[in-house]
């Protein structure tokens, strides 16, 4: 093969590799979420109530314990499952009863979920039961929300500030 042909061949091969690297380095574009949709994201870390009642230790029991462990209450470790419901425009889009983390289920309960929804106005309701009650909810929050396309709308939860928080981006976002 002549040197010229070899050179042409090399240019073609290097060109092909360059096109391969150059194109697939950021193409084709991947659509993670349709641009006309918004995303509601549920993320909760919450410590539910204990499964059993705490019992006050007697004076004899306390005296039998090492001094540094003499806590007046004897509480069961296991915590109740947490029921979470999310309703969008009256339709249940999420309903899960979640057990607490840990081998003894004594840790925190975690929930994480994403809901792609169409942009526009919606009625959003979030509810939680973290106790032994069988009727009603311990926490409930509802709001009429307006989602813009590609908006990231977060349902957060902080028991110390009253429960559910609907975190909307600031208006200029």
């Amino acid at each position: 093969m002549s040197k010229l042909l070899m050179l042409v061949g090399q240019v073609i091969v290097y060109g092909g590799i360059a096109m391969w690297l150059g194109y697939f380095a950021n193409s084709p574009v991947y659509t993670h979420l349709s641009p006309d949709k918004a995303l509601i994201k549920l993320s909760i870390v919450h410590t539910a109530q204990r499964k059993g009642e705490c019992r006050r230790r007697t004076a004899e029991e306390l005296a039998a314990m090492p001094p540094n462990m003499r806590t007046p209450l004897d509480c069961p470790r296991e915590r109740l499952p947490v029921l979470i419901e999310i309703l969008l425009d009256g339709e249940t889009i999420y309903r899960e009863s979640l057990v607490a983390a840990g081998l003894a289920h004594g840790g925190k309960t975690r929930a994480y979920a994403r809901f792609p929804v169409s942009a526009g106005e919606h009625m959003l309701v979030a509810r939680m039961v973290d106790s032994a009650r069988s009727v009603g909810y311990d926490y409930e929050h509802s709001a009429r929300i307006t989602l813009s396309p590609r908006e990231n709308f977060v349902i957060d939860f902080r028991a110390e500030t009253g429960g559910f928080r609907f975190v909307e981006p600031p208006d200029d976002a």
Partner: protein, 518 residues
């Protein structure tokens, strides 16, 4: 599996044959995939050092500093950034082809399992380094990757399920995130060097650098690509907005869409099964290995040539265990030996002329003993019915020498051409077993057993022991190293060689006649 391997092998063989012509065998990129991987790695490291000087860690500063590198000093910083990205992609590409080729050529089983196995952490680490690099830009792609990765990690029960909460909204994220990612992006590639060193522990004389022409061409290609299509950021990350459409780097991020299409659990299962399959592949099924080379201490004088020539570090020289007056003896590690026979070719006792005593060299292959090889040569040469008579010694991994057999051609197949001691060429010619000897094998620069072709050529050129004796007429020797699909080249070269031998015969006859007349 066998069908897949065979198809891949044929595909590679054709590609290699084409590249041999375009690049020459010495610079064929397919023969230097590992070294090219190293070249890309060094480009990534060098450009990374430059970028780190100007990179600022911070929620807004990271993106701003990279934009500044890209546009305000496009002529250097921008080029460096592009080189950083494209060389990283090139590294993945080289690794993928390298793995596929080793698989196709069955060079991942038997004694080679260790090198295959240690390739796995390299793969994972390159991905970890690359993905963490994309986070640092903190654009929409980084945001998408960060959220998807943390959601994927959160799927594991042991993680605790709270990492993704860091990316819920802007108020949760702080600058420490970038410090962590920078540490990871620098530490992982550094540790990678150590793993690469382990990867090459069972490879003697590994090649770290591609030939200059190939390295130059690759660097020029990267530079031109960087100038024509500079790497750019996507819009600035904003946790209030969902990155709906992202330009993915498909070399590093092909698994991310699967997290959406399937689920995080399914992607974990894919990663686990893929990893397990990769680890177990050398034993699915295990290679039916030929018997390892055997040392015969009565004929071994501890000259070290076999240990020097072994491409797999399978021979060790140890203090003598018998009472013969030599310092050392060769010891073969069966688990490392691939039975290529290169050690037999290097042994000075591999002399086919020996008749008074039994032909047993210092080191030999139990499955193809040197004595048997000589018997085969004698029998095949005796069966030749036409002239000029040619004995072809061919490697089992090149063009099948049997396909060249004919009334004037006797073909002898060897596990590797490096198994042939040069004294065999002398034997065939000086004992008039044939008029010429042809040696064929894998393409030069890509011996299946790494050094078979190199050592054979050096022995024939009398630059490496054991050397071809000076009395052997080199014009009666032909060599041909090609990709295994180039049968037509072999037939053509064989015909040329036969013609040359006929010419030699005519010249010799004329010379003899002239001498007789004088």
């Amino acid at each position: 599996m066998t069908y897949l391997k065979r198809t891949l092998r044929v595909g590679f063989a054709w590609l290699e044959a084409g590249f041999d012509r375009i690049f020459t065998p010495a610079c064929n990129p397919l023969y230097h995939l590992g070294a090219l991987g190293f070249l890309y790695y060094w480009v990534v490291v060098a450009s990374g050092f430059y970028l780190y000087i100007f990179f600022d860690t911070g929620l807004t500063e990271a993106y701003d500093s990279i934009e500044s590198i890209t546009y305000q000093q496009w002529y250097l910083g921008g080029v460096m950034r592009s080189l950083h990205r494209y060389a990283s992609d090139g590294m993945i590409a080289m690794m993928a082809i390298h793995m596929l080729r080793e698989f196709a050529l069955d060079r991942y089983r038997g004694a080679r399992w260790f090198t295959w196995f240690t390739g796995l952490p390299i793969l994972w680490m390159v991905y970890a380094a690359g993905i963490s690099g994309y986070w640092l830009v903190w654009d929409m792609l980084a945001q998408y990757i960060a959220i998807a990765t943390t959601e994927w990690l959160d799927w594991l029960p042991i993680v605790g399920g709270t990492i993704a909460r860091n990316f819920l909204n802007p108020e949760r994220l702080d600058d420490r995130f970038f410090t962590l990612m920078v540490f990871m992006h620098i530490f992982v590639p550094l540790f990678l060097l150590f793993v690469l060193w382990i990867h090459l522990q069972r490879v003697t004389r590994p090649t770290f650098n591609p030939p200059r022409m190939l390295a130059g061409g690759t660097l020029l290609m990267l530079l031109v690509l960087s100038l024509l299509k500079p790497a750019e950021s996507q819009p600035r990350a904003d946790l209030d907005v969902v990155p709906s459409q992202v330009g993915l780097d498909w070399f590093y991020l092909p698994a991310y869409p699967l997290m959406d299409i399937w689920s995080n659990g399914a992607v974990w299962a894919l990663a686990a099964i893929g990893t397990l399959l990769f680890v177990l592949l050398p034993w699915l099924p295990p290679l039916r290995r030929a018997q390892a080379a055997r040392v015969d201490l009565d004929n071994c004088n501890g000259c070290t040539r076999c240990a020097d020539d072994c491409p797999y570090a399978a021979i060790e020289m140890r203090p003598r265990s018998d009472d013969r007056p030599f310092e050392r003896e060769a010891v073969v590690a069966d688990s490392l030996c691939v039975s290529c026979g290169i050690c037999v070719g290097s042994c000075p006792t591999s002399m086919p002329f020996r008749r008074a005593t039994e032909l047993v060299p210092g080191i030999d292959l139990p499955d193809l003993a040197l004595r048997e090889l000589r018997d085969r040569v004698d029998a095949a040469a005796a069966a030749l019915t036409a002239g000029p008579r040619i004995v072809v010694f061919g490697c089992a991994h090149g063009v099948d020498p049997e396909s060249l057999s004919g009334p004037a051609v006797a073909a002898i197949r060897l596990p590797c051409i490096g198994m042939l001691p040069p004294s065999f060429v002398d034997y065939v010619l000086s004992r008039n077993r044939a008029d010429g000897v042809m040696l064929t094998g894998c393409s030069a620069g890509e011996c299946h057993n790494r050094f078979g072709v190199d050592w054979t050529l050096a022995r024939l050129n009398r630059t490496r022991d054991p050397r071809l004796r000076n009395r052997v007429p080199t014009q009666r020797i032909a060599t041909l190293w090609t990709a295994p699909v180039e049968v037509w080249t072999h037939h053509r070269r064989l015909a040329d060689f036969a013609e040359r031998l006929q010419g030699l015969a005519a010249t010799e006859a004329r010379d003899d006649a002239e001498k007789a007349a004088e």
